[in-house]
């Protein structure tokens, strides 16, 4: 008897870039991608705007931005030449489960032209166009460096649009520090652990060193070392384990852009879309959530995301922290590990979100190693949101505790 994915999906068209081979006129890898996609769309009659899932070796967010589309499923598996067959496998699973109906698998590699013009030649998988992309070409002259240099623009726009202040956002840093002081593994747990650790005030956040106005250093997450892993298993396997399961009730993903230059609304991210998908899958809404774990690369990221997740009205995300709801003992705990601001952030913070989500909903958040008394909440549901790039890509999960 065939398996569940047997004939779950079909390949319905195949096309290539306009010119292939040893090109006289060199082409970039991005150009080869786009030409093939355009030709595939023409061949099948499927408009590019109807593409729901994009699979490529590390190019997906760049391709989506170039095409101006916001897919529901983004895969960048890049493990070498066999990646494209894996993309088919992953697309089958996504289609079978009803997440998407139309998946694009795309390839563009200028192995020959790269000798003349550089860029995405052989072995470039996993990196996209990088410095050969037109977005990079048109932005690299202008002195933007780390994430803070980009994100500051979002805070200024939020302040302009909603009348928020740096002090409003400073409360997020202060409350996150309060949580970190209940987490012995948090980098900023105490003065003993780190010279800048221990309690902070809103005034200190305001007056700390300027990184990118209006962001002072205490509005910014740290860059530390972190390693983490989780197992996701079937209910059958979960039933036979000594550890408690935490159920994944909903999941969704989306993206707005790859480069901040293409961010349409600097006060909104695609988390509104990814959250809606996750809530729909869970059959729940923001009012059913009892806590949240939000990627807080910067205080502004946390505030905007809270708004996108429906936890606060537009322009009022910061009030969750300012009014004390998000704080230890508050009615809606947020970032109970101390967040990227005060717990740990190594560059990609999505894994610590998963780990703290598991700990809180499995009742292990206060084990003396990863939590002191006061850190464990009574929450039975939790919304988690990760943000990638420069407020570019988002993924939302709804977790619920075991009965």
């Amino acid at each position: 008897m065939p398996g569940q994915l047997y004939k779950a999906a079909a390949i319905v068209g195949a096309a290539e870039a306009n010119e292939i081979g040893f090109l006289q006129e060199p082409a970039t890898a991005l150009q080869l991608h786009i030409e093939a996609i355009k030709n595939l769309s023409d061949q099948t009659g499927i408009p590019i705007s109807k593409i729901e899932g994009v699979f490529s070796t590390g190019w997906s967010s760049e391709l989506c931005e170039h095409l101006g589309i916001q897919p529901k499923y983004i895969d960048t598996t890049a493990v070498g030449g066999c990646s494209f067959e894996m993309h088919v496998h992953h697309a089958m699973a996504a289609i079978h489960s009803g997440i998407i109906d139309i998946a694009l698998i795309s390839h563009g590699e200028n192995g020959f032209s790269a000798r003349k013009i550089g860029g995405g030649g052989s072995g470039n998988y996993g990196r996209g166009a990088g410095i050969a992309s037109p977005a990079h070409e048109m932005t690299m002259a202008y002195g933007l460096g780390g994430a803070s240099s980009n994100y500051a623009h979002a805070m200024v726009r939020h302040m302009h649009r909603y009348g928020t202040t740096t002090e409003d956002f400073a409360h997020i840093a202060k409350v996150s520090r309060d949580w970190a002081m209940l987490n012995p593994r948090a980098a900023m747990y105490s003065k003993e652990k780190h010279p800048f650790g221990g309690p902070i005030t809103v005034e200190q956040v305001e007056e700390s060193r300027l990184i990118a106005w209006p962001l002072t250093i205490l509005h910014c997450c740290m860059v530390a070392d972190h390693g983490g892993a989780v197992f996701v298993v079937s209910p059958k396997v979960a039933a036979g384990l000594k550890t408690k399961p935490v159920w994944i009730a909903g999941a969704g993903e989306s993206m707005g852009h790859a480069n901040m230059l293409e961010m349409d609304d600097f006060t909104a991210t695609s988390a509104s879309v990814s959250a809606q998908a996750a809530y729909n899958m869970a059959g729940m809404g923001p009012d059913d959530m009892e806590m949240a774990l939000i990627y807080d690369s910067f205080t502004i990221t946390a505030a905007i995301t809270a708004e996108m997740l429906g936890l606060a009205a537009l322009g009022e995300g910061h009030t969750l922290w300012k009014d004390g709801h998000a704080a230890p003992g508050g009615k809606f705990p947020i970032n109970t590990n101390g967040g990227g601001l005060s717990f740990n952030h190594s560059g990609m913070y999505g894994m610590p979100l998963l780990i703290e989500g598991y700990r809180q909903l499995s009742g292990t958040a206060e084990d003396g190693v990863n939590g002191d008394p006061g850190k464990q909440t009574s929450a039975r549901t939790c919304v988690i949101n990760g943000t990638g790039g420069t407020l570019s890509t988002t993924s939302t999960l709804v977790l619920i505790a075991d009965d």
Partner: protein, 179 residues
């Protein structure tokens, strides 16, 4: 005597026909000018883009002081950055038009922590500019005081200008204009 090109670009470059060009590296370009017996050295030290394959009309325009923008001939929308396909309607019938060089500040930030050659320029103001023709550009904003960010207004009018960065590259910058 070393001067920043930003303050001198217009006056010096207008008489640069008598200049001796001495390119020393890809990322550093020195203009040595013998003028009235005094030697002036101009440097464009910050990163210079590499011209892409399909963006030449833009860079050619900047050489002539023109802001060329890609526009879709099917939906008439201007997009930025330059694409291989229209991000609005997915047509590949694209053309280049001369933009007005006018826009407004969409949002901005003041960079105090910077890297490489930009570290010497900090603090400086970066801004996203809403183009009069549509869509948005990134810039380092001129005509503003980085130590008085409260005086910089979202929505303020800006105009484009061009700096000669190397023999064949002129880089656009935007300047806030008095209302």
């Amino acid at each position: 005597m070393t001067l920043s090109i930003s303050s001198l670009s217009i006056s010096i470059l207008s008489i640069s026909s008598g200049a001796i060009w001495l390119p020393q590296s890809v990322n550093m370009f020195w203009l040595r000018l013998i003028y009235c017996g005094e030697e002036l050295k101009l440097a464009y030290n910050t990163p210079i883009p590499t011209q892409g394959k399909h963006t030449k009309p833009f860079w050619q325009g900047t050489q002539e002081g023109k802001l060329m923008l890609p526009r879709c001939q099917d939906c008439n929308r201007v997009h930025w950055y330059p694409r291989f396909i229209c991000p609005s309607c997915h047509s590949t019938n694209l053309e280049w038009i001369q933009g007005s060089g006018e826009g407004t500040i969409h949002t901005f930030a003041v960079q105090h922590l910077a890297f490489g050659a930009w570290a010497e320029e900090a603090p400086y103001v970066t801004a996203y500019i809403d183009l009069k023709e549509g869509d948005r550009m990134l810039t380092v904003l001129r005509g503003v005081d980085p130590n008085k960010p409260e005086d910089i207004k979202v929505g303020a009018r800006v105009v484009v200008e061009f700096d000669q960065a190397s023999e064949d590259m002129h880089i656009p910058y935007w300047r806030m204009v008095e209302e």
